[in-house]
């Protein structure tokens, strides 16, 4: 009996640092972050076919000047057949920022988010064939972005502006820019429950989905996105539709109209 136990202990020791959270496919994280394995398993569902790949490019300032509004540009146009892109932070009370389904758009997106501390940022790209490609960058930050109350409550007309849309299409360059007014409350500020846009999409007048987004708490207040299409292929206008977690509908139209 003692010998069997000793053998069992020996086996465990012999297998090294094995743990429940170990991913199926072990990667060498270029950021050397302590959270990577955890997110690979919990957030990405522990896919077997996964690797870090320089073709997934994240561009952001090295330091977050405004922790409530950190710009990030994710470019996976070097990867074919993209189904979705998950954007997340290694360190933060709520890691998952958003998931982008490019549909008819290029796998490239500009966004802004709230950062809570210096952290590796990731974009995990899944193809329709189930392969995963991951890119990273590091952003330094003073912190506090996720736990501060929204600016909106400093003015008393935020309810009137809720769901207000600004934006435009640029057909020649294939760009779409959309900004939706919304507090995007994370639920982490004292006494303010979660209040966020959960779904947002661009569609043609006949209802064809051109691109869609799932948003989570870390997306910035008044979410602002740049989406990119093949130059010259955009129709004259696109509908913006979506909803928040309180059931408010978001509706608007982006056109090629004059800027102010």
């Amino acid at each position: 009996m003692i010998r069997v136990l000793a053998m069992a202990v020996g086996l465990c020791l012999g297998s090294g640092a094995w743990a429940l959270d170990d991913p199926v496919t072990r990667l060498d994280d270029p950021m050397g972050s302590g959270m990577w394995d955890y997110h690979q398993v919990r957030l990405l569902g522990d896919p077997a076919d996964i690797r870090f790949d320089d073709r997934v490019i994240l561009r952001a300032p090295a330091t977050a000047e405004d922790s409530l509004n950190v710009p990030l540009l994710v470019d996976a146009t070097g990867i074919d057949n993209v189904r979705r892109i998950l954007v997340f932070a290694d360190y933060g009370p709520i890691p998952h920022v958003l998931t982008y389904y490019p549909e008819q758009a290029q796998p490239r997106i500009g966004l802004r988010f709230k950062i809570d501390q210096g952290t590796a940022m990731r974009a995990a790209v899944e193809t329709h064939a189930g392969q995963w490609f991951v890119g990273s960058t590091y952003i330094d930050a003073a912190g506090g972005g996720c736990t501060a109350p929204a600016h909106a409550y400093a003015s008393d007309d935020w309810e009137e502006k809720l769901g207000e849309i600004h934006g435009r299409l640029w057909a020649a360059s294939g760009r779409a820019r959309v900004i939706v007014d919304h507090p995007m409350d994370t639920g982490l500020a004292d006494g303010i429950p979660v209040f966020i846009i959960e779904e947002l999409q661009l569609e043609t007048e006949d209802g064809t989905v051109m691109a869609r987004l799932e948003l989570f708490e870390p997306v910035n207040e008044d979410p602002a996105f740049s989406l990119y299409f093949e130059p010259g292929t955009l129709p004259a206008s696109l509908r913006v539709t979506g909803r928040d977690n309180n059931g408010n509908r978001i509706r608007g139209v982006l056109g090629g109209g004059e800027t102010h």
Binding site: P71, L73, I165, H166, R168, W170, R177, T259, H260
Partner: protein
């Protein structure tokens, strides 16, 4: 004298000890006053961003002789900096500092205040309020940026409100110009005796202007007001003494370019990250703290500008 083995060993020991002494002396400010008029001195800061190497000594300070001591205009980024100023002031005038003025509420201009808590600390009323409201937040960030340089620094907002117009501060005649645009309230002071205008951060020279609290149209208006004073010389908030009107002209040109660039970028549908990587025109690329300051300005100003420029979608 022939060097003996003991001399050699002694020299060797001194050599080994030197790095330690240097490390202990690391958090000491070396402030050099320069006379810029009768009873008037300026301490010129580095035209950089806050770094561990400069200890936050990036700001210009002015000392003016009053009736009972020296009037100190702005107090630097930390308690240690304030102490270095107090020592320096006693070297220039045995009576030391008799009054303090803060031009505005940014941390590099008033975080030395605690050293001078026994004399009046004057500022515009809105500067007092802004220092109370935002001081702790600034403090967190300054400790993060400068570490041990900040040890013991506590936020002491200005204690007395100063009105605009002709004033006597410790017996010295000044014209106080209550302006704004760099922040909610920016004070410029004209020293009547020497014709020197202390511009605060309304005017920068060869150092990129900072915009975390900026209102560009208001700031451009304030620059017109500074120019109309027609002062013999101007001490900018950051950068060298200016006797040729360069600081106001350069700050005006830069802010105008910044506003135009951001509006055009919004109209072209550019993302913030794309704008931050724009190359700067040659006349602004060589300013101190570039391109970091431009990138910070994109973060400060672009979201608001973009909302104004883009059409409504519902």
């Amino acid at each position: 004298m022939r060097p003996t083995r003991r001399h050699l060993l002694g020299a060797l020991a001194a050599g080994l000890a030197a790095p330690k002494a240097f490390a202990q002396a690391r958090h000491v400010y070396d402030l050099q006053p320069r006379s810029i008029g009768d009873g008037l001195w300026m301490i010129e800061g580095a035209t950089e961003h806050f770094t561990d190497a400069n200890g936050g000594a990036i700001v210009n300070i002015v000392l003016a002789r009053g009736q009972t001591g020296l009037i100190l205009i702005d107090t630097g980024p930390s308690r240690r900096y304030g102490e270095a100023l107090a020592t320096l002031a006693r070297r220039l005038d045995l009576r030391g500092v008799s009054a303090v003025v803060n031009t505005h509420h940014h941390p590099d201009h008033f975080f030395g205040n605690q050293v001078f808590a026994d004399v009046p600390i004057l500022a515009l009323g809105e500067t007092q309020a802004a220092a109370r409201a935002e001081g702790d937040g600034f403090s967190d960030n300054m400790y993060r940026l400068l570490g041990d340089w900040m040890r013991g620094t506590e936020v002491v907002p200005p204690t007395r409100a100063l009105d605009g117009g002709s004033q006597l501060i410790d017996g010295r005649r000044v014209e106080a110009l209550p302006l704004g645009g760099h922040t909610v309230a920016d004070l410029a002071l004209l020293d009547t005796a020497t014709g020197t205008l202390v511009g605060g951060d309304l005017a920068f020279l060869d150092r990129a202007p900072t915009t975390p609290s900026a209102d560009l149209p208001c700031w451009l208006g304030a620059l017109d007001a500074l120019e109309s004073v027609g002062a013999a010389q101007l001490v900018p908030g950051h950068g060298p003494l200016d006797r040729a009107g360069r600081a106001v002209a350069q700050t005006r040109a830069y802010l105008g370019w910044l506003d135009t660039t951001l509006r055009e970028a919004a109209r072209a549908g550019l993302d913030m990250v794309e704008i931050m990587q724009h190359p700067l025109p040659p006349e602004f690329a060589g300013m101190g703290a570039q391109p970091q300051e431009f990138q910070r300005s994109v973060a400060h100003l672009f979201p608001e500008i973009e909302r104004m420029e883009l059409p409504r979608g519902n």
